[in-house]
């Protein structure tokens, strides 16, 4: 079993021939370089370009026998000068962090209970969690509009029951935004946690209890640390995309909630200021680069584990 780790290549790989290996790695690699990496470089380039009437001026140009490199870092300066951007970045991170924490709080007990439920019931229960995921998220987020609107279902219920005399403003508030985000991302938190908890060797917990730990101590000192990788995976799966979310803030957010995804969209589709939108994107990537690196490291570790 360890021969694979030691050899650095499986025997399969060794005898595949040099062309076979190049093809298998090469095709996806080229695709990714062109469709993922190259666009990032393009975005960066455009973020330092000056907008001509229809298109960008070239970075490099020749004028009067002089090669001129025009790097317009002005876009980045504007980013720092206008409080709007800073506020948007900050609020995006804040909302992403809040969403992640709430998702964790909801998903962890759920995943735990699911993992401990009788084995025959688990596939059905899991399927019930996955089913909303397979139905369009756009539609489900939209549904909250129906539920939370001033004249919406919940308010009608609240007034009918006499709990309040006037509709409570629930839609287009930070509350509805976070609710929508949590709603959408909770399955992303449940799945890695569940996958981790269900594989946990229960005998470790039994050993702890046998040695005198209370169930509560067993949970905090054994179960939680062992599920660390699930927690990290789930948190990254929620936090990173939340920072750049656009659809949910658009449908459920309001004037008080400013998110950077919306700002980018406006710069691009509204103002038609592509270089500005590009610089907003570059800074956004900069913000998530650390969690992103953490996520990649985590994925790499789970990939390289040699399993029998």
């Amino acid at each position: 079993m360890t021969n694979l780790a030691r050899g650095g290549m499986t025997v399969y790989a060794k005898f595949m021939g040099p062309w076979g290996r190049s093809l298998v790695i090469g095709v996806p690699m080229v695709f990714l370089l062109l469709v993922f990496l190259l666009p990032f470089l393009v975005v960066f380039k455009i973020s330092v370009s000056e907008m001509d009437t229809v298109y960008f001026k070239d970075l490099l140009s020749v004028k009067d026998e002089l090669v001129v490199l025009a790097f317009k870092y002005g876009n980045y300066i504007s980013l720092t000068q206008d409080a709007l951007y800073f506020k948007a970045y900050l609020s995006s991170i804040k909302i992403a962090a809040i969403t992640t924490s709430i998702c964790l709080a909801i998903a962890y007990p759920f995943a735990y209970f699911l993992a401990r439920s009788p084995a025959q019931r688990r596939p059905a229960l899991l399927m019930l969690v996955m089913l909303p995921f397979w139905t369009s998220f756009l539609l489900r987020v939209y549904a909250w509009k129906i539920l939370l609107a001033d004249a919406g279902v919940l308010n009608n219920l609240v007034i009918a029951l006499g709990v309040a005399s006037e509709p409570i403003k629930m839609l287009n508030t930070p509350f509805s935004l976070v609710l929508g985000m949590v709603y959408t991302y909770v399955p992303f938190m449940i799945l890695p946690l569940y996958a981790n908890l269900v594989k946990m060797d229960l005998r470790l917990l039994e050993a702890a209890l046998d040695l005198g730990a209370t169930p509560w101590q067993g949970f905090w000192r054994i179960t939680v640390p062992l599920s660390k990788s699930g927690i990290i995976a789930g948190s990254m799966l929620v936090f990173i995309p939340c920072v750049g979310e656009f659809v949910i803030p658009e449908l459920l957010g309001g004037p008080e909630t400013l998110m950077i995804g919306h700002v980018l969209w406006d710069e691009f589709f509204g103002n038609n200021d592509w270089p500005m939108a590009a610089s907003v994107a570059v800074v956004m990537v900069g913000l998530i680069i650390i969690p992103l690196a953490l996520f990649n490291k985590h994925q790499a570790e789970s990939t390289s584990a040699d399993l029998p």
């Binding site: 790695i25 990254m236 990173i240 994107a281």
Partner: protein, 280 residues
């Protein structure tokens, strides 16, 4: 806590989460039968919105387009994802492996606005240089495939890691060339993962808003884009009907698939677990 209290907490918590997850869905279904055009006031039971849907060209055309794109995305994602998964699984060391792994995994979490914007800007530049591609089906497909490939890789890779390496060695020992090993042994054993990956990427593509919005062109408006624009403007009954139909189709599909899968899964894990014995 006593076992009974444990079970009560467990059921209560899980029940609450399920209610939370399904509340919007049931709301949509209920109100799709609402006679009143006022989406939030119940006006009696009616099928008028379903009837209206049959005349809604925008949605129907959008749906057809989305289906086509989703189908192609499913296929391309699975092919690329399988290649990527094979690369990561078999070749532990190759130049650019870290970069490769990073690029494969990042679309999973990267905000779609960034993917959409960057891809669009690139396509525009390419179009200026080479005259093609026009934005439309192909460009949306490209963006969806990037996303889909990331998901497909995860699914296929995790299945590959479960396979015992000695199965492929045994095949080689018995005279199979590496390509034969792949088609005769590896592929049949990961086929289920390939099917799940296809379904997953198909669904993702069908539902995608942001990337489609950035990458679409005139005449290539997908259904999610239509729904999104309507939803932004306010509440629209047509959305409810689409939602209900989607839920119905998906539920039946998921139910059927999971019944079939759990039978196949049981058989497969039995096969795999006892086709080779545990080695200490």
């Amino acid at each position: 806590m006593t076992p009974a209290a444990d079970r009560w907490t467990s059921n209560a918590w899980m029940g609450a989460v399920y209610i939370f997850l399904y509340l919007p869905i049931f709301t949509l279904i209920l109100f799709s039968f609402n006679a009143s055009p006022m989406v939030t006031n119940w006006g009696g039971f009616s099928l008028r919105w379903y009837e209206a849907l049959t005349r809604d060209r925008e949605i129907i055309d959008g749906f057809k387009l989305s289906l086509e794109i989703a189908f192609s995305t499913g296929c391309s994602s699975v092919v690329l994802g399988t290649l990527a998964a094979l690369s990561l699984h078999r070749f532990k060391r190759f130049t650019g492996r870290t970069l490769f792994a990073g690029m494969v995994n990042s679309p999973l979490v990267m905000p779609e606005v960034i993917i959409g914007l960057s891809l669009l800007l690139t396509l525009v530049s390419v179009q200026r240089l080479f005259g093609f591609p026009e934005r439309g089906f192909a460009t949306i497909w490209l963006g969806h495939t990037l996303l889909g490939m990331a998901y497909a890789t995860v699914v296929v890779l995790s299945r590959l890691q479960e396979l015992s390496p000695s199965l492929e060695e045994a095949a080689q020992d018995l005279g199979a060339l590496p390509l034969q090993v792949f088609f005769l042994v590896t592929l049949p054993l990961v086929s289920q993962a390939l099917a799940s990956a296809w379904l997953l990427t198909f669904t993702l593509s069908l539902d995608d808003v942001v990337i489609s919005a950035f990458l679409n062109g005139p005449g290539s408006t997908t259904m999610p884009i239509t729904i999104f624009s309507r939803a932004r403007l306010g509440l629209s009954p047509s959305v409810n009907t689409v939602a209900t139909l989607t839920v119905a189709v998906v539920s039946i599909g998921v139910l059927a698939a999971s019944v079939w899968m759990s039978k196949a899964e049981k058989k497969r894990s039995q096969e795999v677990a006892s086709a080779y014995r545990k080695v200490d």
